[in-house]
């Protein structure tokens, strides 16, 4: 009895805590080339319906600095982009708040844009939650991501191996089937009198060199029948 009560209370607590926390998702890191445009995506998960008062806020903290500055805010259906700070005229809101997307695009990135961007989303009445950060790294030449080439090489080699083994077994299966059908057709065509010799002939055909000759002979017989 007590255990059932304990279990139900834990389950209810779990559900209750889930309905009051908002979870914000961004990428972990973004790599960009100098001078290119980079899209920083932000979305959230919430148990409530998307409210018309949903807000998105982006903060920026340069590498090595201690404090955040706000660079973007969306609230009450209006987007406010940075017009005084380091991103004036370079920030554009490309998200769709109705679909819980609060992404922004930063144009013409430079080395001074290296830093951490934090997205905070609030969906009233669901406002308790942790903001999520994405790190921007600006490169002159985008380096190869760790493990891409490694994974590609391993995958290709193993794939080729499996393919070769599969083709080998398929060829063996096809050859065996041809031998079987060949022996059956000879058995059925020439009747019972010459059964013994025909069976010996069919078994002798398992030799691959003779098999090709037998196969070509069968094809000639079939073409002769077609001509008739």
């Amino acid at each position: 009895m007590l255990s059932v009560l304990a279990l139900t209370s834990v389950v209810l607590l779990g559900i209750a805590s889930q309905t009051t926390a908002i979870v914000v998702y961004t990428s972990w890191e973004r790599h960009a080339l100098v001078g290119s445009d980079v899209r920083l995506s932000c979305s959230f998960f919430s148990w409530q319906w998307t409210s018309p008062d949903v807000t998105f806020t982006w903060h920026y903290r340069p590498d090595g600095a201690k404090d955040n500055i706000a660079i973007f805010h969306y609230g009450g259906g209006v987007a406010y982009a940075d017009n005084k700070g380091p991103f004036r005229d370079r920030l554009e809101f490309v998200g769709n708040p109705n679909r819980r997307d609060g992404s922004i695009v930063i144009k013409n990135v430079d080395y001074s844009d290296n830093g951490t961007f934090t997205c905070d989303a609030k969906n009233p009445p669901d406002i308790v939650g942790r903001p999520s950060s994405v790190r921007l790294l600006v490169f002159e030449k985008v380096p190869v991501q760790a493990g891409v080439i490694t994974g590609a090489i391993i995958g290709v080699v193993l794939g080729l191996l499996i393919l070769i083994v599969a083709i080998y077994y398929l060829m063996r299966f096809l050859v065996a089937r041809r031998v079987f059908s060949l022996s059956m057709s000879k058995h059925g065509k020439k009747g019972k009198g010459k059964e013994g010799s025909q069976q010996k002939q069919a078994l002798a055909v398992t030799d691959p060199a003779k098999l090709k000759a037998a196969a070509s002979e069968k094809k000639k017989q079939e073409s002769r029948r077609e001509k008739k």
Partner: protein
């Protein structure tokens, strides 16, 4: 006969151990304060603790990833070869050679030789330091897999 079988089995297991140790342990190149490659770098901090850090960006990444890939493939082929050997012990007709197992060991030899050769030729030219345990084990792995491969190509299953 059983002694020979046991010896070949132990040789194959030794190959696997050597290859796994060379691939997993990050000790291809060492200095007094650094033990590095092929996955990450251990640096000795001022307080006497070893810290696990990333390999710096000035490494040629394509070659490093090629070494990573081929050493992992060598381990995979060697382990698969063990299972194939056990399977062939039961299914091979008497008097035949263990060709399939030998093929897997040949592939493993090829891969670990590629890995060790690329590493020796490309990395740490003219630097102060010495080659670590994993590097030596990789080259020992080259020899062991070659011996194992030749054994499988020569060995025949016992005729009754």
């Amino acid at each position: 006969m059983l002694v020979l079988l046991a010896a070949i089995f132990i040789l194959h297991i030794a190959c696997i151990c050597v290859l796994l140790a060379a691939t997993i342990h990050n000790a291809w190149w060492m200095t007094d304060t650094v033990s590095t490659d092929i996955w990450a770098r251990w640096t000795l901090g001022a307080s006497g603790n070893w810290n696990y850090t990333e390999i710096p960006n000035n490494y040629p990444t394509e070659y490093l990833q090629a070494v990573q890939a081929s050493s992992v493939l060598a381990c995979i082929f060697c382990i698969l070869g063990l299972f194939v050997f056990v399977a062939q012990l039961y299914t091979l007709p008497k008097g035949k050679r263990f060709l399939f197992t030998g093929a897997f060991q040949l592939l493993a030899w090829l891969c670990i030789m590629i890995a060790a050769s690329i590493y020796t030729d490309i990395f740490h030219k003219g630097e102060n330091g010495w080659y670590g345990a994993s590097f030596i084990l990789a080259w020992i792995g080259v020899c062991l897999t070659l011996i194992s491969c030749i054994t499988y190509f020569v060995l025949r299953k016992k005729t009754a």
